[in-house]
Amino acid sequence: MIASALVVVPLVAAILCVSATRLARPIAVVASLAVVALALAALISGAPTSASVAWAGPLHAGYSVAADGLTVIFLALGGVLFAIGAAASSRVGHRRAYFALWCLLIAAVDGVFVARDLALFFVFWEAMLIPLAILMWQWGGPDRRGATLRFLLYTMTGSAFLLAAIAALAASRGTLDLAELASRPVAASGQLLPAMLLLAAFVVKLPLFPFHAWLPRAYVAAPIPVALVLSGIVAKTAVYGIMRLCLGLFPDGMATAAPVLVALAAVGTLYGALLATRQDDLRRFIAFSSLSHLNLIGLALFAATATSLRGAVLASVSHGLVVAALFLLVAMLASRTSSFALSRAGGLAASTPVLAAFSTLAIVAAIGVPGTSGFAGEFTMLAGTFERFPAAASVATLVVILAAMYGLGMLRRAYHGPPLAAGVDLAWRERLLVIPLLVLVIAVGVVPRVVSDRIPDDTLPSVEVTR
């Protein structure tokens, strides 16, 4: 019941948004918070959340939804980010359309996380694209047209393979229900191909190096709140997909491909960090630092030990929170300097100490200093990955050095030095957007087990690597 409500509530909100210009933003915020509340209620009440209804039987597709711990973690994260993103969308035109699309996006993202049927998963997976694309296309920056098309076509190409895999599974297994598929596993030798077809969609959305060509352009072109959720939660659908579908259904196939994937992810981790050191546009800076983080998450996913997967979930939560804070702070900075260029900032700390302090905290979390969520995720991922791929984990660990370089380098160029730029310090309205994120960042950093203990055991590999 609750699982279905998680999709229905934002859908209803979308309809309400269309009919109420003035209230559109509050409606979107409330709908997002309702998602958080529902998700947590599902977790705390322990009531059965699942629902299963016939849908397209001859296609082997059914409507089957549920919300377990893993789902709830991502949904709660998504709800928080959507709420803050909506709250931050204060000056958009065509409000009704914007917030209606926003709520549709929430519904689609929720659907991805609650779906327990491959076809249904794909429905929501693709459904995310349309509101995202229109939001980018209509409300984005100067490069929005090209960036949107690049993003759309790139991710759709990945999804195309996912669709082919779904068709193949339906034809060969006669069911698309996840539980049934899992109970009748494909023989180990035949898992590689379907695993890779499924993965194709996820490596583009994540994106794994070198499938990230859409990422920097999309981050720059999208309106800040959209970029925030694009990076914060939409990218996490790929994490979830890899965990639930690729690793859940085809662990042997993933294990076969792991060496190559792990190598790509390790390279991507350093690659993103290195490129982040060179960016002048703050959104591109976030794009490449995100690329680095997301590839590290990919590394942990492909290593697929219980510890690395726990780390991947922690890091997903952390990256979502941190990147959201960064996007907001960067936008606030840009509103002071009238530019997203680092070269137009400098010495801002003198006039905007609170902005500087918040940015410092966000960067500290981004570069994984203990006590923040960034460390909890990063460390757990690397430690878990090291169990199976020590070389790749060691190489990826170098990212802590590069992260320090790009993170502190950014702070230095924006806030330190003689005051080249100046502005009004953060208003309370702005602070209230960022503070919840930063509080959560610290909270998850101090008690990460609150999150990681919610991950159900059946989504983790059952056999631990023997030492």
């Binding site: 060179r278 006590g371 050095i401 030492r467």
Partner: protein, 603 residues
Amino acid sequence: MTLALLVALPLAGAVPTAVAGGLVGRRTVGSIATLFIALSFGAAVAMAQAFAAGKTQLVAELGPWLPIRGADLSLVITPVTVPLVLMVTGVSTLIALYSIGYLAHDTGVRRYFAAIDLFVFAMLLIVVASNLLLLFAGWELVGLCSYLLIAHWRDRPAAAAAGVKAFVVNRVGDAAFLVGLFMFLGLVNTVDLAEITRRVQPALQQLTVEANAQLFAASVLLLIGALAKSAQLPLHVWLPDAMEGPTPVSALIHAATMVTAGVVLLVRLGSVLHPDVLFGAAIIGVITALFAAVVALAQIDHKRVLAWSTISQIGLMFVGAGVGAAFAALFHLIAHAFFKAALFLGSGSVMHATDEELDIRRLGGLARRTPLTTIAFACGAAGLAALPPAAGFFSKEAIAAAVMDRPILLVGVLATSALSALYAARLFALVFVAPPSSDQARHARESPPVMLVPLLALAAGALVFGALVAGGTVPLGVTPSAEAPLALSLTSAALALAFAAAGLAIYWRGPRAIVPARVSNAARAGFGFDTLYLAAAVIPVRAIAQVLEQGSEALVQLIADLVGRAVIAGSALARRMQGGYVRSYEALLLAAAVALLAYWSIR
């Protein structure tokens, strides 16, 4: 409970200072922050009494942390770490107190004191963490705090650069530490220190070749971490630049927190690390000690003299820890904390008195203008120079005694001591004794009491602490492994006295060049390590990043473009087929029909 309080109090001080510090006055912010550290010191004293009464261990389990075995929020304190805790909280309290005066006119006191409190918290974590992961948390946090404090004056580009440099170099060590940690995790599947010790120690006796190699590699990686944190060769480059921060910060970094963390790590892990690696630490320590002493001699900035002297003294501690003489290492660590804190605060007092003058060639004659500072500084310098009966004399003697059976190390230690005496005397002579050579020096004013009280307290510590320990009044939790023979005591005392006297004599009347300028310039620049790293690490990394951006990233984008272009070109081709002529349509249609026909007829 007391243990938890000990650690929690400074953290508790940091949060309100940072969040609500704006609501109260600057001085109040400092007082509150100092109070929390002082309370933490109180907790430490209470624990020391408990241990004096016979306790052997205190444990605080605060709950789970990361989903990794042994990675809990749990603390442990043993007799070995009690003196360290006392030192960290005690010296930090004094430094924080001093800062109230020193930063009376700074606008950034809120973040300053928040970072100071956090710094103390992090250092305490390193000392009392009961597992490697929590220790690493403190390890990273001191790095963060050093960044925040070194870059405290945000309008100074050099300060920002120094802060970033400190953090990045520390992160190099942290990365190594992390991988070493993973290897330990792989070896024993826990990060709990007690369990690691329990599992590794017996195994050390009969290691397989593979496990031996793994333990060796893991130990080397942890050692690299320690080298970076403790500013030992070749990862020492961040420390001299760290002088860009406010002077009390230097005192904190050099004396009570941060750089001694490496020594603490070696002492706490002494029984777990591979013996060869430990000995390697001693070798690196002695090389660093000598190298840094030489560089210190050539410095003209009084804070930099002290900075290089720290590197040198930590090198001596590494020697002690490396040869397994935990007593000597800890003894020198604490003694060093006293005299180095006194020296840095003295240095700050000098700057305060002379309008931030740093160049020792432009100082002089301060003994008359700032007598109390002079006395305190003299005590510190005596400690640094290891003049009996100052603290440094006893602690260095303990280190020398520990390496009695290794002549090379012994020579290195003694030579370092001698050079220390020389540069300490040079510094003191040039700043306080030599004729004043600038207006600032001539019009120096003594610092306010809030600065002088902690300064004098530390100076007193620097003077008497050694004798107290050597006399057995203050226990260090570990017993000395070797008693210093009388000959050694006499030799080191004589060396120290002779070189100190020489230094005073040479520089009594002002700066003087005793070696060719080329040599002294090279030494002053730290023998080019910065240039080396610039050429060997910084520039290559930048170049790689540039190549990646203009090469592979462009390629990634290009491939995406090309795929798009190929599709568009295919589209143009497909459209061209629709030429509009019936004859071509007919021809194609019939050709296709014929092709089908041919296929079906021939097959």
